[in-house]
């Protein structure tokens, strides 16, 4: 069995010039620690530096991601920004992911929950298995959605459906997610990575300059609102974490 303490939190396997980036804490359902974001950031830098033609982002062992790691919690360091240090770190790395000049495709098996969902939505395309689900159960844990999820869901679904998902934390099925435009391709369980690789290979034939510039246009369409939203999200996350209710909520669910 893999010794988690020594295994990298993010693993990279290249296939035909496409970087398959795997969240690699399978026994914790690939929950994201602070260090996961640091490693992801480094991997993304390398992906750009060595000229990969695309990125497929997936979870090890057939499960995408359970969200932020509840055991280690969102705090990082003892400084004034400690309580939500991971939130800001995650924001930055997800922005970095959006800036990657080649196509990025999330391949979701199992589920993408909370911050894991935010991460999947930061990719250009989202492929998911037909039995996968999405959920944002932040409020049940007495914290607030992060990774831009409140903004994105409200933007995409309208205020009331977003509120239903965010306040009640209910699960969204793959079919429903596709219908709402939160998933681009639904595939047989177990084949999400393969399908994502197919798409990445198809896109690798396109002119890289046109791809990069088109991605910039897409990013620009939302950058103004996100620029104002991110700091607010961070402030709310800090307040939420400082409330004792947050600690109790976390304990109850971990």
């Amino acid at each position: 069995m893999i010794d988690d303490a020594n295994a990298p939190l993010i693993r990279r396997e290249d296939r035909d010039g496409v970087a398959v980036v795997l969240l690699n804490r399978p026994r914790q359902r690939n929950a994201l620690r602070y260090e996961s974001w640091t490693e992801l950031s480094a991997v993304l830098n390398n992906v750009i530096a060595d000229g990969s033609r695309g990125v497929v982002l997936a979870g090890a062992d057939g499960f995408f991601c359970a969200g932020g790691d509840l055991k280690s919690g969102p705090a990082h360091g003892s400084g004034p920004f400690g309580p939500a240090g991971r939130v800001e770190h995650a924001q930055r790395v997800m922005e970095q992911l959006k800036e990657v000049p080649v196509p990025t495709i999330a391949a979701v098996e199992g589920a993408a929950v909370g911050l894991g969902w935010s991460l999947a939505l930061s990719c250009d395309l989202v492929v998911c298995a037909s039995d996968a689900f999405f959920a944002a159960p932040f409020v049940a844990r007495a914290v607030v959605p992060d990774g831009g999820l409140a903004w994105r869901l409200t933007q995409q679904l309208g205020r009331h459906r977003a509120a239903s998902l965010l306040l009640r934390g209910i699960r969204l099925s793959a079919a429903e997610a596709e219908r709402l435009g939160l998933v681009t391709d639904v595939v047989e369980p177990g084949s999400a990575v393969d399908r994502a690789l197919e798409i990445a290979n198809e896109l690798a034939q396109a002119d890289s300059g046109a791809v990069e510039m088109t991605k910039r246009l897409i990013n620009s369409a939302e950058s103004a609102q996100l620029a104002a939203f991110h700091p607010l999200e961070l402030a709310m996350a800090t307040v939420a974490q400082q409330r004792s209710a947050a600690t109790e909520g976390r304990t109850a669910f971990s």
Binding site: P80, F81, E99, S223, A224, A227
Partner: protein, 265 residues
């Protein structure tokens, strides 16, 4: 001039950008003295990692940035430029991507940053200085944004931020004509906070950095963040356009002529 603590390339992995630790203050020194601290491609890439690395330092509370010797930074390195920005579209795109990231990273950087502009700050050097939070200028220093004269759009520099600091008309004047802006004029325009006698510039910068470092960290950092939301909103869309427009200029005969002229010197 009082000696500053010795910097090392440990954090940046780049001998030309040194970082020194002085209690809670980190001193960043542009260190390419044979070329007036001009920013070569290696330094440019290191800049894309510098701010994140400094933000991850839990003991840091403020940063000062300055240059080795009597220059702040002469801007880009045109010798390398020909190879990476003019002749090769792939590395050109990568360079512009980095340029975009550096501007954003500086605006997002949580700690207060003091620029001790110890000499000429031109082009990229000028952009970096003005993105800091408090800008001190040696009485021998000047700013100049020379993009236009060399055939480029001032995409990653003045045109993005200057209109927030000075009148739009003045920004146009200095960006289009590319004239030098001496220290006292820079203060008058709003591009710098104050002029300091040359011999004291680094010491004065360090003193202010320590003052900032001693303030309640949360209050000072969130105040910076709040104020920089203005900058963030101001650059949104504009930086993207400016850099795209600048990217298109590298292959023009005018830019080529400007490089040839420089190389002939």
């Amino acid at each position: 001039m009082t000696q500053l603590p010795e910097g090392t390339p440990e954090l940046t992995g780049c001998n030309e950008i040194l970082v020194a630790v002085d209690g809670p203050v980190r001193i960043v020194t542009l260190n390419n003295p044979d070329n007036a601290n001009a920013v070569n491609n290696r330094m440019h890439t290191a800049f894309t990692r510098l701010w994140t690395a400094l933000a991850d330092d839990p003991d840091a509370r403020a940063v000062m940035i300055t240059g080795t010797g009597d220059y702040f930074s002469a801007g880009g390195n045109l010798v390398e430029w020909l190879e990476t920005h003019v002749n090769n579209p792939v590395t050109r795109r990568a360079g512009m991507r980095d340029a975009r990231r550096i501007v954003r990273d500086m605006i997002d950087f949580p700690l207060p940053v003091v620029a001790a502009v110890n000499g000429p700050a031109v082009g990229f050097g000028c952009s970096i200085a003005v993105l800091c939070d408090i800008v001190l200028m040696s009485d021998r220093a000047y700013f100049a944004d020379t993009h236009v004269a060399s055939g480029l759009v001032a995409g990653d520099g003045g045109s993005v931020l200057w209109p927030l600091l000075m009148s739009l008309l003045k920004a146009k004047e200095y960006l289009m004509l590319g004239e030098r802006i001496k220290a006292d004029k820079a203060v008058e325009l709003g591009l710098a906070n104050r002029v300091v006698p040359h011999a004291q510039i680094k010491q004065e910068g360090l003193a202010i950095a320590h003052r900032l470092a001693a303030l309640p960290p949360r209050a000072v950092q969130d105040t910076k963040r709040t104020l920089n939301l203005h900058a963030q909103r101001a650059i949104t869309g504009i930086l993207e356009y400016g850099i795209s427009a600048e990217t298109e200029c590298f292959t023009t005969p005018e830019h080529r002529a400007a490089i040839d002229k420089f190389l002939d010197r």
